[in-house]
């Protein structure tokens, strides 16, 4: 089924490291994508115009124009082609910045290529052509629940909720990736930037904290649903100030 979803979808892979593109491009082609490769930011901007990809995989650290600048320019022109950033460091600020500047998702190097394909498919499923991704909205709402991202504050109706910084980051990521099965490992990576053995339990603890604060029943979830054996999914319908 997945093969059908991605059949013929156009993908632009941008990385200056040929060792990576040489191995990754064939892998992505076998996964059903039509792949083109660009080796730096300038070439990437040209290819986006000529190839018109459905999704761009963009390395951050590149000569001439780096990935972040490519992202900024595209978004500046009002081009909302889905972009997945390949980040180098696990720093939380860098990851938050990636989403704020308009990336749809990011993945830390080194990554499992299967994970990249899973992210690409999720991003393509979420995409509404020509529209800004949720990830770039400053204010997000889901029914009564409001998220003010720049101020990092949450309201339920008129009441402000108190969340720890990590719980906020977790909720923010779920909000910007609704209706997507998010594995514990992925959430761990989002909130902590690196995984550790007891970490998946830490995710459960945080989700429980979120549910308590949001008054969300796990058996009848309005917001966070447990997907047995897989992870969590944000089931609320999210709107952003787009």
């Amino acid at each position: 089924m997945n093969e059908l979803v991605t059949k013929g979808q156009k993908l632009l892979l941008v990385d200056d490291e040929t060792a990576i593109t040489d191995n990754l491009a064939p892998f992505l082609r076998r996964s059903g994508f039509e792949v083109e490769v660009a080796a730096d930011g300038e070439e990437a901007l040209d290819r986006v115009a000529s190839f018109q990809p459905d999704v761009v995989i963009l390395d951050v650290m590149m000569p001439k124009i780096d990935g972040r600048e490519v992202l900024r320019r595209l978004r500046g022109e009002g081009n909302w082609t889905p972009i997945i950033l390949l980040t180098q460091v696990g720093e939380a600020t860098e990851r938050a910045m990636a989403l704020e500047e308009g990336a749809d998702d990011y993945l830390n190097k080194p990554f499992d290529p299967h994970e990249l394909v899973a992210r690409i498919r999720a991003v393509l499923r979420r995409m509404r052509p020509g529209e800004r991704p949720l990830a770039t909205a400053a204010q997000l709402t889901c029914g009564e629940l409001k998220l003010d991202r720049p101020r990092r504050r949450v309201w339920m109706g008129d009441d402000e909720l108190t969340l720890t910084p990590k719980a906020f980051t977790l909720l923010e990521y779920m909000f910007t990736h609704p209706d997507e099965v998010l594995t514990r490992e992925r959430l761990l990576d989002v909130v902590w930037g690196w995984d550790y053995p007891a970490g998946t339990r830490a995710v459960d603890t945080r989700v429980a904290e979120l549910r308590r604060t949001l008054d969300d029943e796990p058996s009848e979830p309005r917001y966070i649903e447990t997907v047995p054996g897989a992870g969590y999914r944000f089931v609320g319908i999210v709107d952003g100030d787009r």
Binding site: V89, G90, E91, A92, P110, T164, P165, K166, W192, G193, W194, D195, Y196, P197, A198, G199, R201, A202, T205
Partner: protein, 319 residues
């Protein structure tokens, strides 16, 4: 010393002496009778004696200052040499850590390229995969160490007893953990353990790493005891085991990055687990230590200050 400074110095030495002598002469003139403070000391002796003491003080403090400065410089130079040596040692160990998996990968790839037997190829592929994961773990632990230096701690009030319980449950999933007798002892009387201020997840990682080591360096039916105490100002967490012990000469080095003691060479791991423990504990203003006896076992201790949340937050914002 410049000429101007020298003149200043001479002036500073001579001025109190001169003033003292002048004072004595004046007193001698003003007080007609010979007033004695003591059987051997005239009142008029006091000013010049004081002046002399001041002058000697000026000379002495100068000596002490230059001595202190020299010592400081020597110390700085020693630290510099130490840092250079530490960096060299780290690179040497890193080189060593990477050499082995890379050699295995190259051999595996050669097997894959040259053998036509499907079985050999898939075996080689598996082994290459394992070695790649090993390198990934090494890189990921290195990143954690670097990240820990700058990372903002999420500072909450941590219930150590609950933290130990949670971490112990997580450690039960370790391979071989079921064959160890793992126990947890936390005081309840006369009052439960104090909370400490810190980052729950990081502290849990530190304890987990100690438990991971304890399981790795023990055998079936060995005992692992996790204990916590409090002495009013700190909470102490101990992870003790009845394993093979760490040789005395290795003990001072076990918290160093990528250090592998005699017993640790054959045990898989990134070589950064204890370095991470130390980094986490030190970010919390705590200390780590280790005691061991050959053939009897080892006990690692984490000591963390009891405290409120604000203190640590202050320190974090200062960083």
């Amino acid at each position: 010393m410049s000429r101007l400074k020298f003149i200043g110095f001479v002036f500073k030495v001579l001025l109190p002496l001169g003033l003292g002598i002048a004072g004595s002469v004046i007193l001698e003139r003003v007080i007609e009778e010979n007033l004695f403070l003591h059987s051997w000391m005239k009142i008029s002796t006091i000013p010049w004696l004081l002046g002399l003491l001041c002058s000697l003080g000026v000379i002495g403090s100068r000596r002490i200052r230059s001595w202190l400065k020299a010592r400081d410089e020597k110390l700085k130079a020693e630290i510099q040499v130490g840092m250079v040596e530490e960096r060299r040692r780290f690179l040497r160990r890193l080189d060593h850590e990477m050499k082995n998996p890379l050699t295995a990968i190259r051999a595996g790839l050669a097997n894959m390229a040259e053998s036509s037997r499907q079985e050999t190829r898939s075996e080689a592929l598996d082994s290459v995969n394992v070695q790649v994961l090993r390198l990934s773990n090494l890189v990921s632990d290195l990143r954690k160490l670097a990240d820990l230096e700058t990372r903002q701690l999420e500072c909450i009030s941590v219930d150590v007893a609950a933290l130990l319980e949670e971490t112990l449950t997580a450690a039960q999933d370790l391979p071989d953990a079921s064959q160890r007798q793992i126990t947890l002892t936390v005081p309840q009387a006369p009052w439960p353990l104090s909370h400490i201020a810190g980052d729950w997840d990081l502290l849990s990682l530190a304890v987990y790493n100690l438990l991971d080591n304890a399981v790795k360096f023990t055998e079936s039916d060995d005992m692992i005891e996790v204990r916590a105490f409090e002495d009013g100002s700190s909470v102490e967490i101990e992870v003790a085991e009845t394993g093979q012990g760490i040789p005395q000469e290795d003990l001072p080095h076990v918290f160093e990055e990528l250090y592998r003691g005699e017993n640790a060479r054959v045990v898989p791991g990134s070589g950064l687990g204890l370095a991470l423990v130390r980094a986490i504990v030190e970010r919390h203003n705590g200390q780590v230590s280790v005691r061991s006896r050959a053939g009897q076992g080892t006990v690692f201790t984490i000591r963390l200050p009891v405290g409120d949340v604000t203190g640590l937050q202050q320190q974090v914002t200062d960083l």
